[in-house]
């Protein structure tokens, strides 16, 4: 067992974990954060994407012990005062999901992308979410949603809420 201390969605957690425990298992099974899902066994699908110290990672390919001392942001930590994050809102507005299984990972990766490139072209969005698979093949509206979110998150844009590129990680 190894003792780890992490900040997840703004709260500090301390736990003993087996070294073999994956970060995604820790989030789901210990912390009950089932918003982060497991979609494959090959590291291809990106459904389990979270932010680790501000960078998107596939939480199936990180051990929980490696997150010791780090900050984790999951899709469950995006909402602020009952308001969806602009990227969440844009996915809703643009019907950017069909079955919804890829959505948590798509949103987390899209937020990472927009933090890096606030005004991506369609091609840049497609490359930015290269590590996330939508098995419904609903990419058209996902790309549209990311570009819509980019417009609404621009400084000076009239958003119905404060737009935060960083996603508000505590």
């Amino acid at each position: 067992m190894a003792r780890i201390r992490t900040t997840v969605d703004g709260l500090v957690y301390e736990d003993d974990v087996e070294p073999r425990m994956l970060l995604v298992q820790y989030l789901r099974e210990r912390l009950g954060k089932t918003g982060t899902v497991i979609g494959c066994d090959t590291s291809n699908c990106g459904a389990c994407t979270v932010h680790l110290d501000g960078l998107s990672v596939k939480s199936c390919s990180v051990l929980a012990v490696q997150a010791n001392g780090s900050e984790v942001l999951t899709v469950e930590g995006l909402e602020r005062d009952g308001q969806l994050h602009p990227v969440q809102q844009a996915f809703h507005d643009n019907h950017a999901l069909q079955c919804g299984y890829c959505t948590p990972g798509m949103i987390m990766q899209s937020i990472d992308l927009l933090g890096d490139n606030p005004d991506p072209t369609e091609q840049e969005v497609r490359e930015g979410i290269e590590g996330n698979l939508c098995r419904c093949t609903g990419y058209q509206n996902i790309v549209r949603a990311v570009q819509d979110a980019a417009q609404k998150m621009k400084p000076g844009a009239t958003a119905s809420q404060p737009a935060s590129v960083a996603g508000g990680g505590a």
């Binding site: 190894a2 087996e18 070294p19 073999r20 425990m21 994956l22 298992q25 066994d41 090959t42 590291s43 291809n44 990106g46 994407t49 680790l52 960078l55 998107s56 990672v57 596939k58 199936c60 390919s61 990180v62 051990l63 012990v65 490696q66 990766q109 990472d112 992308l113 930015g128 290269e130 590590g131 996330n132």
Partner: protein, 283 residues
């Protein structure tokens, strides 16, 4: 699937890591960025007794200039490689190739040293390292040694790193002002290279004065296309010259046949992609 149980240590210096490997015996394995290794553990294709995580060793991260070399710490992530000014300026080929590795999430975690030590024949960084005449700094119980790229890659997933040694840094000569292109052929997003070509060329006054070309997935190890290099050097730069020189690209290769491509198709790809890579690098 969940990995089998293992013990875990996270040393904070190379010396401690070397000691941990020695204490761990034959079943100890090194964890770098984990983007190949953790999937291997998860699929239970590997079952180490001890995992030595290099993530806590600050001296293994970062890029620095040492005289006429650019030195990259083995634990420098792909993400940091693609954004590094020294590499973009002096070793552009490695920056270009790194941009094509996997996807953003993997590049945030995966490391240059980890990818090179893993030595997957379809991995994208070995061919550029070979083409660039990189040197590999390896630490072990008896101190440090340096291995040339030509001697580093021994076979499929096999390098000159001993079981109780650690790759600590990769040293690149400077190729300041050279053009560079990594031309990768794969079927779909995030797929491995079926074949890829790493080319960097120096063009002065319309003449190709130097050229380095490495091939990905044309054998168990990366291969230098020396026939193409010598056919290019001294020639006036033109599309015709480059396409003609590229016909030598498959010489000395031994590509595999698999579900993606037969060996003859890989040889064809090597020629076409070499032409494209050199033209883009020179352009």
């Amino acid at each position: 699937m969940i990995p089998a149980s293992f013990d875990y240590v996270r040393p904070t210096s190379v010396a401690e890591a070397v000691q941990a490997l020695a204490d761990g015996g034959d079943d100890a394995k090194i964890l770098a960025g984990g983007q190949s290794f953790i999937p291997v553990l998860r699929l239970r294709m590997g079952d180490p007794s001890l995992v030595v995580d290099l993530g806590g060793i600050a001296e293994l991260r970062g890029v620095r200039e040492e005289g006429d070399k650019i030195v990259v710490g083995a634990m420098t992530t792909h993400h940091d490689v693609t954004r590094d000014d020294l590499l973009n300026q002096h070793v552009k080929l490695i920056s270009e190739a790194t941009k094509t590795v996997a996807d953003f999430q993997v590049r945030h975690r995966g490391t240059l040293g980890g990818a090179l030590a893993h030595a997957d024949p379809a991995g994208d960084l070995a061919a550029p390292a070979l083409a660039l005449d990189a040197e590999f700094v390896i630490a072990g119980a008896n101190g440090e040694r340096t291995v040339a790229a030509g001697d580093f890659f021994e076979d499929y997933f096999t390098t000159a790193i001993g079981p109780q040694e650690i790759l600590t840094a990769i040293r690149f000569p400077k190729y300041t002002g050279w053009g560079a292109r990594y031309e990768k052929f794969n079927r779909v997003a995030q797929a491995w290279s079926i074949v890829a070509v790493a080319a960097t060329v120096k063009v002065e006054g319309g003449t190709i004065t130097d050229a380095r070309i490495g091939l990905t997935n044309m054998a168990g190890t990366p291969v230098r296309a020396r026939g193409v290099e010598s056919a290019l050097v001294g020639q006036t730069m033109s599309e015709e010259t480059v396409r003609a020189a590229a016909q030598a690209a498959a010489e000395g290769t031994s590509p595999t046949s698999d579900a993606d491509a037969g060996s003859d198709y890989r040889e064809h790809l090597a020629k076409v992609l070499t032409g494209r890579a050199v033209l883009a690098a020179a352009g």
